[in-house]
Amino acid sequence: MTGARQPRRYSAGPGSGARLRAFGLVTPLLLFVGVTFIAPLVTMLVRSVHDPVVADALPETVSLLHDWNGEGLPPEPVYAAAARELNQAREDRTLGQVAGRVNRVQSGMRSVFTRTARALEDIEAGPWRDVFSGINEAWNDPATWHAIKSTGQRFTARHYLNAVDMQRLPDGSVTRQPEERRIYLRLFWRTLLVSSAITFLCLLLGYPIAHLIAQAPPRRANLLLVLVLVPFWTSLLVRTTAWIVLLQTQGVINDLLVTLGLIGDDGRLAMIYNMTGTIVAMTHVLLPFMVLPLYSVMRTIPRDHMNAAASLGATPRQAFLRVYWPQSLPGVGAGSLLVFILAIGFYITPALVGGSDGQLISGMIAYHMQTSLNWGLAGALGGVLLLGVLVLYVLYDRLVGVERMGLS
């Protein structure tokens, strides 16, 4: 820094000193974002493929099962190891976690594990295979041992298979889940569909008003722009509350329709706590993200072009379709991409106004994080969603540039 006073540095272009200073300015934030944001994402992704609970609690059982050929029931030493380690897990209070993990692969295992461990407490010696089969029938089923073997793997693709409705069979082959357990692909699909619908609605509503603002004289344009920015700045929870107030069965719109006699008091419309609620509220929330990029592109389209088209004999319709629309396409692309990216990961609004059939994939991630506590699966669903967002984000950067993320 001693030589920094020399003015030479400023005129010398990107010299090594300037580069170093630039680097020094950027590094703190890069480190900060790396630790507070990127590292957590990595942690989540690691959790989606790494699960040591069973392997840590039942190390010998798992390693003996690894050598087991998988046919019939495992040999006596496996039972002996399981007896010792289940007992230990009960004392260490890790049994519940272990049982929970195995239970996800083979349902009913939770109670089998707890009951077996409790019974084993009073038994001193084998033969363990007989002891186990005496405690619970399930131990005579090879599927139980396959379940322990499979959850005993520290690294597993199980959660990702699960996230796309697939499963690995004991023989190692990968197949689709049985019909009644295929829920996630359908949910991903629904999320894409609903997000596309919302993007389209935003474009449909946003294009004309962006055009109106771009055409208006500056003072009026500013006023109209404020009308777009008010919802943009207003708390998301407030906007969602507003839609509950408007749309619920005893809400403002239903009351109005009843008063006007358009519907009977017993025929009130169900406009919220379902997919309609999700779509209406999300369109409202995301509309400014469509209008602002559209407006910033439309503002740069010279008015003369439309006038020229008209003077050359084009009808307003032709002039719009052949002159204006093509020039506004960058804005259409930027706005649509941004709205779509934000829509597919949206959580708060669907969670509050979506009811049971208006949930998107984000709601499922929250469910596995907070209720089922299947964090591996939550991580895998998040990983799939993150990949989708990342692809769209890179696309956005290529087409628009991330630093032009539509604000004012």
């Binding site: 400023y10 408007l246 993150l386 984000y393």
Partner: protein
Amino acid sequence: MAAATGTGPGMGRIAYLVFCAAVFLFLVAPILVIIPLSFNAEPYFTFTEGMLRLDSEAYSLRWYREIVENEAWRGSMVNSLVIGVSATVLATVLGTLAALGLASPGVPARRAIMGILISPMVTPVIIAAAGMFFFYSDLGLGQTHLGIILAHATLGVPFVVVTVTATLAAFDRNLTRAAASLGAGPWTAFRRVQLPLIAPGVISGALFAFAVSFDEVVVVLFMGGVEQRTIPRQMWSGIREQISPAILAVATFLIVFAALLLLTVEWLRRRGGGQQ
């Protein structure tokens, strides 16, 4: 447009204006409806007959009184301010420095760095919050103010970087060179010449960052305990559990607050942080 449509407003033009008016109504009306309803004397979410008759009996401040007297709401207000201000300071300082660095010529991998710094803006919050829940708990930052401040600062960073970068793009570097040629060191040139000129952009970025934290609920939901309840967190449980018009009183307060933020940012923008 008038030239293109010929003499007088045609049917098409009228339909277009009516449609636009309807969209503006769709944007603003839901927010405005909340305000009168927050003065409802009855515990309903809709206009009572008395309210429609503009009967003064039908209006009251009871929900505002309830909020002010409620310990939980007051606590959440303090939490929101403490967390919001701390996260804003952190995001603004780090974000402004980084934007300055990124604006100077010859920064290696500028595009990739920008991509990383702005990514918190588009990453679904549910994913970020899930990751943070694991990672921050491992560091012992789960259920602490500090953990949430760090998380909120990260979510606010992109807004600061974007806003300050846009302001710097319009900044004339010759001014810094002129200062340098007159003998000012880099720090003096920055403080006396560049900073005053980019200040509106920096303040706008800070207000964005504050608004992000002030409205954030998912991270608080995942990482916060009872001690970290913020206003949005409090509203979240209000909406989900015992929905009462007290929520509308808080919402009205937040609407007024948002309007003030918006007007400030617009004013700063027009004062020209160099932006058009």
